[in-house]
Amino acid sequence: MQLDQLYSAIRQLSEIERALVMLYLEDKSYDEMEEILGINQNNLRVKMNRIKEKLRKLIKTEIWN
């Protein structure tokens, strides 16, 4: 159930955010992500934190709904 909610929340992310999540789930390091995407590591870390926060909010909204 919780897993489904998480998947559903991920589906609501933008394409770039989903790509980042995929790389994260595949256990890519920030070095590897930087190499693949061409975004510097600071930006990547900021983006990942924002994505995690966004997912938390989306899951909360789903639970409430």
Binding site: L3, Y7, R11, I16, G38, I39, N42, L55
Partner: protein, 207 residues
């Protein structure tokens, strides 16, 4: 559940989880991405050109005992130009899907080139209108045993300046109309997808 917990689950069941249907639904299917759509539209155009031009070229090559085969050659010329355009654009779209390239720099580099191609396509498609009108008018002028009594052809009935104005007005109005029609068509086939790629680039650039 947090993303880190999901990551742990993925690590534990890596082989099973990655084969799972969820993996496919998490990401958009490949055929839905803007580049794949543009490739599909380009292929659709190629097929349309081959069918329509092929039929017209064959028809004018044999109809009227081959007396109008200039039309076939004219269309062969346009079709060849389109084939060159097709292969160059297809090559560019393939380069954009390069798996070993850095996503951001590759997209940045190719989106500008792609925009130039599409602009060229719009200008060339519009320029083709006056060219086609002049070609067919010339053909009628050369091939007709008796020219139609019209302001568009030199005759004693109309002074030369009236003929000139008639041509400028006719070609001008048609070209402007086709320009806007082409603009709508090109935007529908490529413009919206280029816009989407630009939005992705902006998102990648955002800190």
């Amino acid at each position: 559940m947090e993303l880190d917990q999901l990551k742990d689950i993925w690590q534990k069941e890596s082989s099973q989880a990655k084969e799972d249907e969820q993996l496919k639904t998490l990401m958009n299917r490949r055929s839905n991405n803007p580049i794949a759509r543009m490739k599909r539209n380009l292929l659709f155009e190629l097929i349309a050109i081959i069918v329509l031009y092929g039929f017209t070229i064959a028809y004018y090559a044999y109809a009227f005992h081959g007396k109008m085969n200039e039309v076939s050659w004219f269309m062969v010329g346009i079709a060849l130009c389109f084939f060159v355009y097709y292969f160059r654009k297809n090559k560019l779209l393939n380069q954009m899907e390069c798996l070993s390239c850095q996503v951001k720099s590759n997209l940045q580099k190719q989106v500008n080139t792609l925009e130039k191609y599409v602009k060229f396509y719009l200008v060339a498609g519009t320029a083709l209108v006056p060219l086609t009108i002049f070609f067919f008018s010339w053909l009628i002028y050369v091939k007709s045993p008796r020219l139609p009594q019209s302001v568009f052809y030199p005759s004693d009935a109309y002074p030369w300046w009236q003929t000139a104005i008639a041509w400028i007005a006719f070609v001008g109005i048609f070209t402007v109309l086709i320009y806007y029609l082409n603009k709508w068509y090109v935007k529908k086939l490529y413009g919206n997808h280029i816009q989407k790629l630009k939005e992705l680039l902006t998102e990648l650039n955002e800190g």
